[in-house]
Subunit: 440 residues, 2 copies
């Protein structure tokens, strides 16, 4: 049997502690699968004395993860600290500079510095594995980077934030408001005390930026993502969507178009009978569309200590099964220097169907006015309907729901702006994009 693979783990939170436990409990099985032992030679965390429920004896302790990266007797540096900069960035750079393989679950780090890190890894002949950074336990990175090599990707999209999907699912199933569902998510530990990063789509954007680069070979462009969160989604939207045969999901979508690459994160209506529409609660799902294979959908746990540790473990065992310097899979599917500048397709040029919900004064001619504003902007309607409340009171504001055929974002914005000037709108219009899975 080959020499043991020695790993150092930086960060002993939920995922780090799960990983230590699994490596200790599954030592024999892992040795059989990999043809060598995997030993935890070193660990690093902020507080040496905290009880994490795992036995750290026999492992070298480092207060400073960068020092562990530089000095520990290890082959693989496992970064589970999080954060785009600071200790995570410094220690991963130190590890790669030394030629160590790196396994990380850190989406923010990759979204910010992924290309530089990939370049550094290649120069040093090291592997940079990051399966856990996107969609937790779902092996989407390996699938895109390895299984689908040779495919040309057309669209990648998914439900990549469990907090948002939990809230949207609860709103629909229980008829509760966004605020109530958020509170419940916080009580259950599915949402942070400050949930902004999740519910406004930033977390999804980080993950999407990584998938976009894997799909289209551009340099990571996490700052050029069109972003809309779910805090604006009302139970009325969800009910109207259901009546029309849709469910609302927060999707991250990366798509190749004639004008460049679209990257967008927003609440999205997906057909009720599509497979992804059935993905409920904190579960994640990623759909990959490519020219040779067609569409592949992967559904699974997107977060949690064990699910994330499973992905980290897959990355570690991949290295254990290879021999030093033996295998070369560039971090983003092609050498970092061949990644192309990001050519952004503006959101205004997005083409697709739209759901538009308008609250209007109860006035004769409004319906006709809306329909003609749409027509003037070249928008063809699939349906336009007045959504009647249980008891309609004469003179009270009415809700009108439009569903468009494929059109452009620019047309929709112009039409809505034009409707605004007519003076019968009450409050702001709600505009939700419709996304249609190719086949499943």
């Amino acid at each position: 049997m080959a020499d043991a693979l020695r790993i150092g783990i930086a960060g002993l939170g939920t995922v780090g502690a799960s990983l230590v436990r699994i490596l200790q409990q599954r030592g024999n099985e892992l040795a059989v699968a990999c043809g060598r032992q995997i030993t935890i030679a070193a660990v690093s965390a902020r507080n040496r004395n905290r009880d994490r429920g795992v036995d750290l004896s026999g492992m070298a302790w480092f207060d400073d993860p960068a020092e562990m990266a530089e000095k520990a007797e290890i082959d693989v540096f496992v970064e589970l600290m999080g954060g785009a900069n600071g200790a995570a960035d410094a220690s991963v750079r130190a590890a790669l500079t030394r030629g160590l393989h790196v396994v990380t679950a850190n989406k923010a780090l990759l979204a910010r510095h992924g290309v530089e890190l990939a370049k550094l890894a290649e120069e040093k002949g090291a592997l940079l594995n990051y399966e856990a950074a996107v969609a937790g336990g779902i092996p989407v990175i390996k699938t895109m980077r390895e299984s689908l090599t040779g495919n040309s990707f057309t669209r990648v999209y998914g439900i990549m934030n469990g907090t948002c999907n939990y809230i949207l699912t609860r709103m629909e199933k229980e008829g509760l408001s966004f605020a109530d569902c958020l509170k419940e998510a916080q009580r259950l530990g599915y949402a942070e005390a400050d949930p902004t990063f999740d519910i406004e789509g930033n977390d999804t954007a980080h993950k999407l930026a990584i998938l976009t680069t894997l799909a289209f070979g551009n340099r990571i462009a996490a700052d050029d993502i069109y972003l809309e969160g779910i805090s604006n989604i009302s139970i009325d939207d969800i009910h109207a969507a259901a009546d029309l045969g849709y469910r609302i999901k927060l999707l991250g979508v990366a798509q190749k178009t004639d004008t460049g690459i679209e990257q967008r994160v927003h609440p999205t209506m997906v057909p009720y009978d599509s497979v992804i529409a059935q993905v409920d609660g904190v579960t994640n799902a990623v759909a990959i569309e490519s020219d040779i294979l067609g569409e592949l959908l992967m559904v699974g746990p997107g977060a949690g200590g064990n699910a994330t540790a499973s992905a980290v473990l897959g990355d570690i065992t991949d290295i254990a099964k290879s021999r030093p310097g033996a295998q070369r899979v560039p971090a983003f599917g092609r050498p970092a220097e061949l990644l192309e500048p990001y050519r952004q397709a503006e959101i205004k040029s997005h083409e697709g169907g739209y759901f538009i919900r308008l609250t209007v004064q109860d006035r004769t001619g409004v319906f006709a006015s809306i329909a003609s504003k749409m027509a003037e902007n070249g928008i063809s309607l699939e349906s336009i309907m007045q959504r009647s409340k249980k008891q309609h009171v004469e003179g009270e504001p009415q809700t009108i729901i439009l569903v468009t055929h494929a059109t452009t974002e620019a047309s929709v914005r112009k039409a809505v702006a034009s409707i605004r000037t007519e003076g019968y709108l009450v409050g702001d219009p709600q505009v939700i994009r419709i996304e249609r899975p190719k086949s499943v």
Copy 2:
């Protein structure tokens, strides 16, 4: 750049021709992704003169695939001929014996000889890759063998035959009979002229046997699979299932139980709101349950020239990215000699819910008799209902539908046998097992 990887392709049917076309069209992209060229150095097929729409110039031609395996100047032998024995078996053995890596899409070959071939590959330091053998383009082999290393599997199940899923979907959506849908499937090329192998579950069984071995580390036991096809499913079953909140799918299920490993292929009721229930038409889906990750579901094209070629290509590029003799992933996740004897759990000991449809004479006391037979066999009922036709005619046979709570197959068989003796049954009872996804 490293030396080109030279492959030889045996079998130039739909998949083989797709593969040749893709390798020729995507040469540059593949070289970038793999760090080396992939060249088709040799091909073998039955008829040299057939026009396959691809350019075979510059490739050495072999009439005999075994001769190609023995003599061609190649690094990888790609077997796309099919068949458990004969040329496929002989040439794969010859290739492995020579130390060539083998990529195959041949489920029958693996179900029959997989363990021996894996052993031979290990002895010779060769890789045996077979992603395309199970669920076409869905990367289930790589996911189980690599991404989930360290996980202990509990259940693997899926829709792995597009013909059956197409027929069941059409029956439900159009209200057509099994026979009519089969004819349509044949007309569209989704079913063979002799469809027995697909509709009776044998094809699913081959694939299941491979997944079982990957999941549970037993020697492949394709002959010890409990088999029921879909030809017995009526539109009445599908309607009754829908009324109860289920859909009927032909599933292959491998599951670890206290008494051993269950391998079964049969029509199965899955809850309507589960993700797998929404997988329609020729699409395949595989669910993998394991202790660390939880449940992962992968949905995608299970057949077709391109989808299968995509999986074959992934296997080839994996080899191209590694260096000769550099990586060791045992074919079934652990060395072949460590695969354990198959310990079969009898179908009679299967535990789960059951749907039972009985046609009975319109006679007082039948309902009570059925309920008491169930109770006598310790079967607890979730529901028992008389399914009324639109126009009930006094004295005509009635349909009674039972749904049981979790019980054993043995109990159900005893109860049904006991009901048979009562004399009020008309025709044969229909018994369909219910499978519940863990989470999604």
